[in-house]
Each structure stands twice: as C-alpha cells, then as structure tokens.
Symmetry: C2
C-alpha cells in the first residue's frame, strides 16, 4: 500500500501557480499517494480561519501523516495562522519575496491576487482573440486571415492539432490555425494549395501508427479510418510530404500538450508571454 | 523611465511552472519592466553551457542590472553553473526538495522533466476527451451526451463561455458544454427546453452591457447585435431568466479566464486535478 498524504494548495488568487509548482515537486516522490485539495481565493485571515483551518485539522486527525500546504499568500498573518495549525507549510511568496526585494532594490507591493487577474487588458484581449482565431481555423475550416496566424499546424486527423492550437491560444495568446492532411493530399503528393502561400508558418505533428489506431478506434470503432493499415499509410504519406516540402515536425506520440506547445514555440522562435 | 531587468525561466522540462510562479512573483514589483525569456528543455549541463550561459552573459553585459533566473532544474551541477554566471538564481526545486524530503521521510527521485510529461495516461486521455467534448458542445452545437458534462455554461453571446469551457477542459480535464441564451429564449421567458433536464449542471456567465458592447462592436461593427441598447436588453433578460430558474452565475467583466474557471470549479465542487 502506498503512503498517503493530504496536500493543500492555498492561495489568495486562483491557486493555479501554487498547484502547478507544488504538483511538480510532488512528482519527485513516487510511492506516495497524494490527496490534493485546492483552496483558492483565501484573501483574508477570516477565510483562512473558516475555509482552511477546519480542513487542515481534519487531515491532521485522519492520521495520514502531517498534511502539506503549498501556498502563495501575500498576507503574513494568514501564513502564520496556517503554520500554527501543525501542517508543513511551503509558501512560495514568503520564500522568495525577501531575496527578490534585495536583488531588485525595491519593496514589493504585497498586493493580493495579482497573478491571473485582468490587469494587462491588451494581453488579455490578445489571448481571447487567439482563442477565437484557433476556433475559426480549426481543422482547416477557414482560409480567411491565415496570414495573421503565428503558426499553422498540419498533420493527419487525430495527431493532436486541435488541443495544441487551443493550448497555444489560451496559455500564450499565440494564434495557431490547424489544417488536416487528408488522403487527397497524399494522392496528389502535394500540400493543400492554400498552405503553399504560408510555408514558413507550417509546423507538422506526427504520431505513431499504433497510437493513432488506438485513438481513432476509440472514436470510430472498426472503421476503415481506424484500421492499422490505413493509419500506417497516412502517417507514412504525411511524413513523406512534410519531408519533401521541408516542413519541421514533432512526434506527439509520447508528449503532453505542454511539451508539444513548448517545442513549437521554441522552434518558431516566439517568445511566450504569460498573462 | 521604468527600471529594466532581464528575467530567465529555465527548466529541464517545459518551464511552464517556473514561468508561472516566477511571473506571479514579479507582478509584486511594479515600476520594473521585465524582459522575460523562457529556456525550456535544458536537461543537461551541456545545454546550460550552450543555451543559457551566453544569453545570461549577454544580459549581464547589457547593463540593465543583474539578470534574474527562476528555474526548476533537478541537476545540481546545472544549477551551480548558472549560479556561477553572476545571475541571481532562484531555483524552486533546490529550495523545496530538501525540506520536502525531510517532511515526507523519503528521498526524491531527482528525475528530470517529470511534470507536464505524459505519465498519467488515464488523466491525459481525460483531458483530450474533455477538449473534444468542449469543441463538440460549443455554442449549443450538440445535445448529444449532455448528461456526461460536468458543467453546462450558459449566457448571452460573447459573455466568455467558449474560452472558459476550453480552459476547464485543457487545464483540468473538466467536461464543459456551453449554450447560448438568445432573444428567442427571452421572448419565451424560459430556458432552452433541452437544458431543463440538466438544471443542476447549469452555471451562468454574465457581463456588463458596456463591456459586451465593446466586444461585439469589435466583432460586428455597427450591427444591431452590437448596439448598447440591445446588449443591455440581453444582459437584463439573461440575468432575469437565470435568477428565476435558480441558476448560479458569475460576472465575467473584470475576471480572467483563470479566475472564472476557478470560481466555477469551487462552486460546483469539482476537485481540480492537474496532469
């Protein structure tokens, strides 16, 4: 039986940063089964008292070891209260704000809930526009404004183009169109006509035929589309086409959406903003 | 003129955790203009030497103060190299792994690039399925499998339903359908028929008429759809309808996608997993 431990992510904002970094740290401890609980918008000492303390207390009493709290709390009083609960507290703000103040030669604002707010309206609008763009240009559904795209993803059906386009838009405000490579392209042995005007923007996704078969089988069981022979043919042809046309590509088989997106941004040399 | 400083986010993985937390910390220092550079997949000492050092060196020589490096590097040798460059290094792993090892009574794996990889195949499949679900159920486009949704977002056109559904899917693997409230619903003074079967899953988004007008004006300039009077009417009617039907809602006007999504998950009491 694995070791158990309850882990809280507590923040005066969304808790997404605390959860993401805390979760990264926990992936370094295999053998533990972590019960992860996120407590967002804890922006007053009152809320620590009412929303956090009883849950930490319950976890302490459950007898699965000392609960761990990862937090991004600007208010020192709020942190002290949690530290007094008996939980093991790691506050990302507390740890780094002092040395950052020293390094920058400036006092911090100590303002609550600043990240993931809508301060940067311009950046925020970019992001929403990028989502609209990805939706309008999903699966080759529109040729309009392709020139405005930052990148155009191409690949066979179910190679991961849609989730990647959406992630690039939502997380980084990058405008990604996506365009399927289909059997007609393979017979013609040429990229879709419209894409020839945007060759420098093309980026390919490929996938192993085995994994592609699994995904397609899930969607359209026992179809010609999902047959292994067909998957292998399409992947081979798509790779041949991309190689001939000099299109960069990445194999998505064992990569997460984050890894695929990060690789694309690195390769197309777009500095990724965060909003 | 604002103070300038170059900030690097360096990681042996995607760098998304380092970037997100580092960025959160920097939002506490107003008055600085940070030039943010992300260097992902730095998974060897060789790559530190080739990809990071010259860029840090260049930033040092640019004379905008000591560059700051936020990192999540598992390899201590890689960290030492960066520390020796003269940059101010904050490594999130180094800082927390030791006290976490003590607290958990276990050595960590020291495995590179573990977060945002595809370890948890089940969780990963959930996420992709949630994206497919959100796409298939965008803007009321399908009634199929609505019973499988975790939440059904409703609201007037351009109140933020689509980006929120996609964020819930991509970030948390939560299945969110979305359904527009349209003038026909307001004349009938009733929710769309199909939604009556799923009242417990409904969650409303509303928005200020002023902001709605701006967004619609951008999309369809000088249309009836974008007129302030029309926006005010639709918002009023939508809120009246939701109030009458007992649907919870949130005002999205000044909230980010992260804040809206976090609030919804808290309210519908879904524990948000991270993959």
């Amino acid at each position: 039986m694995p070791f158990r431990r309850t882990v809280f992510f507590v923040s005066d904002g969304t808790g997404i940063s605390a959860q993401m970094l805390g979760h990264s740290l926990l992936t370094q401890f295999e053998g533990f089964e972590f019960k992860e609980v996120t407590l967002p918008f804890v922006d007053s000492v009152e809320k620590v008292r009412l929303d956090c303390m009883p849950r930490i207390q319950a976890a302490l009493e459950a007898g699965n070891g000392i609960p761990i709290v990862f937090s991004t709390l600007v208010n020192p009083e709020a942190r002290d209260l949690i530290r007094g609960s008996g939980a093991l507290l790691f506050d990302f703000f507390e740890t780094f704000i002092d040395p950052l103040e020293a390094g920058l030669g400036m006092r911090s604002n100590h303002t609550i809930g600043r990240s993931h707010g809508v301060k940067d309206t311009k950046g925020y609008t970019n992001r929403i526009e990028a989502v609209n763009f990805a939706m309008a240009h999903d699966d080759g559904s529109s040729h309009r404004d392709l020139a405005d795209s930052d990148v155009i993803l191409i690949g066979v059906s179910r190679s991961g183009k849609t989730p990647t386009s959406l992630y690039l838009a939502l997380q980084f405000g990058v405008k990604a169109a996506n365009y399927p490579l289909i059997p007609e392209d393979f017979s013609r042995k040429a990229l879709p006509e419209i894409l020839k005007h945007y060759k420098s923007k093309l980026y390919g996704l490929t996938i192993s035929p085995e994994r592609l078969r699994e995904i397609r089988q899930e969607r359209r069981p026992d179809s010609q589309y999902a047959k292994f022979e067909n998957c292998r043919y399409e992947v081979e042809q798509a790779e041949m086409l991309m190689r001939r046309e000099g299109v960069r590509w990445i194999n998505s088989t064992t990569k997460s959406i984050e890894e695929i997106s990060t690789t694309i941004l690195r390769d197309i040399k777009i500095e990724r903003p965060l909003y």
